[in-house]
C-alpha cells in the first residue's frame, strides 16, 4: 500500500518545513483535484486539470495573514477523449501554446462562518484577468487540511470559446471551476 508511505512523506515534509521555517504548506497534488464543468446543450461535462501546482500558506486562526497561489497547466485539461482534449488546447479554447498556465493569486482572505473563508484574488485565464472571490471550506483532518470550493465564471470574459463557439446556446457561458486541495497542516 502506497498511502501510509505517502502520508509519512507528507508528514516528514511538513515537519521539515516547520523546522526550517518554510512558509508554504506542502500540497499533495496526487490527492487534490481541480475540475472545470461546462454545460453543453444543458448537459454537464466535467474535465479535470491533471497538472497544477499550489502554494498555500494558511492558518485558520489567522486567515488574514494567509495566502494562496495556484497555477494550472491548461494543456492538462482532460475531458476523457483524446480528440476533444486536443481540440480544447487550440486557439479557440485555451490556446495552450500561447497561454500554458491559468493562475489564481490571492489578495485577501477573510473568515466567513465556521470553517468558511472568502478568498479574494486575481484569476488569470488566457491572459485575461478578473478579480474574484471564492468561498472556501477548510477541513482539518489529522495532519492535513483540505480546501474545497467552487467558483462559477463566465467563459466569455476570458475569451474561452471564440468564433462559432461564442454561441452560448450550445456551450453555456457559465463554467464552474471546482477544487479540492489537500495540504499538510502547517
Amino acid at each position: 500500500m502506497k498511502t501510509p508511505f505517502l502520508r509519512w512523506i507528507v508528514a516528514a515534509t511538513a515537519m521539515t518545513s516547520l523546522f526550517l521555517g518554510v512558509a508554504h504548506a506542502q500540497v499533495d497534488t496526487s490527492k487534490s483535484t481541480v475540475t472545470a464543468t461546462s454545460k453543453q446543450m444543458n448537459v454537464p461535462v466535467e474535465g479535470t486539470f491533471k497538472k497544477f501546482t499550489a502554494q498555500l500558506d494558511f492558518d485558520p486562526a489567522k486567515p488574514a495573514a494567509g495566502s494562496a497561489k495556484l497555477s494550472i497547466d491548461t494543456a492538462s485539461y482532460d475531458l476523457g477523449d483524446d480528440s476533444y482534449n486536443q481540440q480544447v488546447r487550440g486557439k479557440e479554447w485555451f490556446d495552450t501554446a500561447q497561454y500554458p498556465n491559468a493562475t489564481f493569486v490571492s489578495s485577501a482572505i477573510a473568515a466567513a462562518g465556521s470553517n468558511q473563508f472568502n478568498v479574494s484574488g486575481t484569476l488569470t485565464i488566457k491572459g485575461k484577468s478578473a478579480n474574484v472571490t471564492v468561498p472556501v471550506k477548510v477541513t482539518q483532518q489529522g495532519a492535513t487540511q483540505s480546501f474545497d470550493g467552487a467558483l462559477p465564471i463566465k467563459r466569455s470574459q476570458f475569451d474561452i470559446g471564440t468564433g462559432e463557439w461564442k454561441d452560448t446556446s450550445v456551450v453555456a457561458d457559465e463554467v464552474v471551476i471546482k477544487f479540492h486541495i489537500i495540504a499538510a497542516k502547517k
Binding site: Q40, M41, N42, P44, E46, G80, D81, Y84, D167, V170
Partner: protein, 184 residues
Amino acid sequence: MTTVPPLKQRYSATAMSLHWLIALLIVAGFYLGWIMTDIPGFTPTKLKYFSWHKWIGVTVFMLAVIRLAWRLTHRAPELPRGMPPLQKLAAELAHVILYVLMFVIPASGYLYSSAAGIQVVYLGIVPLPTLIGPDTALKVVLKTIHIWLNYTLLVIVAAHTLAALKHHFIDRDGLLARMIPFLK
C-alpha cells in the same frame, strides 16, 4: 375463378400513429447518427446533432414501451390468406426483431453515452440518470454494439419495406392498406 378477397381489417388509428411516428423518428435518428459521427473533432453543429440524436432515441424508447403495451393487449390484423407459411414466419420474425431493436438500440446508445461520461438531458430539460459510470473499455464495446445493431436495423427495415411494397405492387393483396390510412 376465385380471387383472394382483399383484407378489410386494418390496424387501429393508435397502432398506425405509433408505427409512422416511430418510423419517422427512427429514420431521422439514424440519419443524424450517420452524419454526426462523420464530423471531425467537435463543432457546435456536432454537439447539437448528438443531443438531438439522443432525444430522438429516448423518444423512440418511450413510444416503443407504449407500442409494446398496445401490441400485447390487441390483436394484429390477420396476414393475407394464401400467404406461404414460410413468408408468414419471416414476417412475424421481422416484426419481433424490429420490436426488440426499438428497445435495444436506444438502450445501447444510452449506455454508451453513460460510459463516455456524458449524461443524457432529455430535450435539454430533464436530466436522466446515468446508469453506468465512465468506463473507457466499455465505451468502445457499447459503441460497436450500437453501430452493429443499427446495421441490423437497416437490413430488417429494408426487408420490411420491400416486403410491404411486394405485397402492394406484385401480390396486390391489400396488405399495405392495413397500415396506411386512406389507402384502399
